[in-house]
């Protein structure tokens, strides 16, 4: 884990309220890990936990949606501006456990950490994407490039299948399922996987203050007691979660 100032290489609007930010960072990063990002001014207090969207050599990219004052301020950074970042943080995906036939399910901005994962899985995983509508298909074209096959579902049917993505996954065909998205979507995925006796891994999002395991603001209740989303997570085995 490193704490440093880095220079913005790009920070562009890619979709409705969604930006892609790239900075230089030379160190090993696992899919599913995240960084704490902050502008250098004092316009907001705490760094924001943002998952790694992609890694290209020494360039790390983040895909984030403006949700509040922190992400709004980060979105105003221009090329060559400096920002503070520390990471990589969290456990990330255990690649040794993602063997055999793998389905990856992403919902909304929850697709952000999946691009790098798909890339490391070398186009072997099937991808199931759920978006609200065709206007909010974050990261779609890039994600598709790294998947074996892609099924897209929009709630209003404006692109691909209509409805909820969790209803379009043939769970029993897979050995492992990975999901990241809204809480309700991930709950559904856990239920389906349990029913079909398929192992699943869930990447959780939580409010965090420190991002490194000391504040206990992001505690997650699991069958083996409280775990920290920032340290033992953000990736959890679905069966472990309560």
């Amino acid at each position: 884990m490193k704490v440093l100032k880095s220079t913005v290489i790009e920070n562009k609007l890619v979709s409705n309220r969604v930006y892609k930010l790239s900075v230089n960072f030379e160190s090993a990063i696992k899919p599913g890990q995240f960084f704490m990002l902050k502008t250098l001014d004092n316009s907001f207090l705490l760094p924001r936990p943002i998952s790694v969207n992609d890694v290209n050599g020494s360039i790390v990219s983040f895909l984030y949606r403006i949700e509040g004052m922190g992400t709004k301020k980060i979105s105003s950074l221009r090329v060559k501006d400096e920002l503070q970042l520390f990471g990589p943080l969290g456990n990330g995906f255990d690649m040794n456990k993602l063997k055999g036939k793998v389905a990856i399910i992403g919902g909304g901005i929850g697709v952000a950490p999946l691009q790098y994962l798909l890339k490391v899985l070398e186009k072997k995983a099937d991808l199931y994407l759920g978006y609200r509508d065709s206007e909010n298909m974050y990261n779609y074209s890039e994600l598709k490039l790294y998947a074996n096959k892609t099924v897209t579902v929009t709630e209003d049917g404006s692109f691909g299948q209509k409805g909820f993505v969790t209803d379009y996954v043939p769970y029993d065909l897979y050995e492992v399922v990975v999901a990241c998205g809204p809480e309700i979507m991930m709950k559904k995925v856990i239920e389906h996987c349990k029913k079909n006796k398929v192992k699943c891994y869930i990447s959780l999002e939580r409010r965090m203050a420190c991002g490194m395991g000391v504040c206990l603001g992001c505690s997650v209740e699991t069958k083996s007691g409280n775990k920290r989303a920032c340290k033992e997570g953000p990736v959890f085995c679905g069966e472990e979660l309560i």
Binding site: V3, N42, L45, L46, G70, M212, V214, L216, S219, G225
Partner: protein
């Protein structure tokens, strides 16, 4: 180079910069980032006699230059602390302070008995955590109540005892005097300020406990005033905390009368901040031609 050493509560601190309870865990995560032996001391995560899993619902909420928390004293309990965390903390080469909270007198006593036999250097007695419904808060509001519990703890406590005051106390000078009279070796203040946030769309309080503790730079002026009041009222060392984010803030607390300070929420802003503050503090004193902190302590 200025002399940053501080002698207080029977301990020699390398400098006045300690890290505050609840913002530094037991140090392990930070030890992976920088050498903790540069610190004046580390206050442990708030401990209770038995393990606690903490509060349900939202635990964090950012405000303009502040942070509200309702963690609810999630901690492994005193036994596990002594067994697993303390041995690691003792390797960091700095003063180790165990922060102990409780829900009733007996909890405090049992915790003290156990810590007496451990290698902790100082016990910081938390009589102020506002998050635990069933107690905590009660001890830190009325001076007479605080006097009773601190006196009883003092009788059995073999370690230097620093009492952490709540800003929600009825009267800070009275509270400081009560703790000194009860035999405290020092006091630290302020703990978080009781506060509230409302989620207007859902028409409910953000926190399950309704109220939560506010910390961060927004509380610094209040903390500074209270440290000033307490310092004028007692002779025992005062450890100031509340919103400190840079060396200038530290100087302010020392000028207001603090012997030591604690860095809390700022550890979240940047994990290396305590290290930077120590360096900047030394540089500032050199620039100002100040040779020792005693020259500026309590000059206001």
């Amino acid at each position: 180079m200025a002399n940053l050493k501080v002698k207080a509560m029977g301990q020699m601190f390398k400098n006045p910069i300690l890290t505050a309870s609840g913002t530094f865990g037991f140090g392990e995560e930070f030890s992976e980032i920088y050498d903790l032996s540069i610190l004046g001391g580390i206050c442990s995560k708030g401990l209770t006699l038995l393990p606690r899993s903490g509060n349900n619902g939202s635990r964090l909420w950012e405000t303009p230059m502040g942070l509200m928390n309702s963690i609810g004293l999630e901690n492994p309990g005193v036994d596990k602390f002594i067994e697993e965390e303390l041995p690691k903390m003792k390797t960091y080469g700095t003063v180790v302070i165990a922060n102990l909270g409780g829900h009733c007198e007996e909890d405090y006593f049992q915790g003290i008995y156990k810590l007496n036999e451990s290698s902790v250097d100082i016990i910081e007695l938390n009589i102020s955590c506002p998050n635990v419904k069933s107690g905590g808060m009660g001890f830190g509001i009325k001076s007479s109540v605080a006097y009773t519990i601190v006196s009883k703890v003092r009788k059995i406590c073999k370690k230097p005892l620093m009492v952490k005051l709540s800003p929600n106390a009825e009267n800070i000078p009275d509270m400081a005097i009560a703790c000194e009279a009860a035999g405290a070796d020092g006091i630290s203040l302020i703990n978080t300020i009781q506060a509230m946030a409302i989620d207007v769309k859902n028409r409910k309080a953000v926190f399950d406990n309704i109220y939560a503790g506010l910390s961060g730079p927004c509380i610094k002026p209040v903390a500074l005033r209270m440290v000033h009041e307490a310092s004028k009222a007692v002779k025992i060392p005062v450890c100031g905390l509340g919103g400190i984010k840079n060396a200038i803030d530290v100087i302010e607390f020392i000028m207001a009368g603090a012997s030591l300070v604690q860095i809390g929420t700022a550890n979240f802003i940047k994990p290396t901040i305590a290290r930077e503050i120590i360096k900047d503090l030394s540089d500032f004193l050199d620039e100002e031609g100040i040779k020792s902190l005693d020259e500026i302590k309590g000059i206001i």
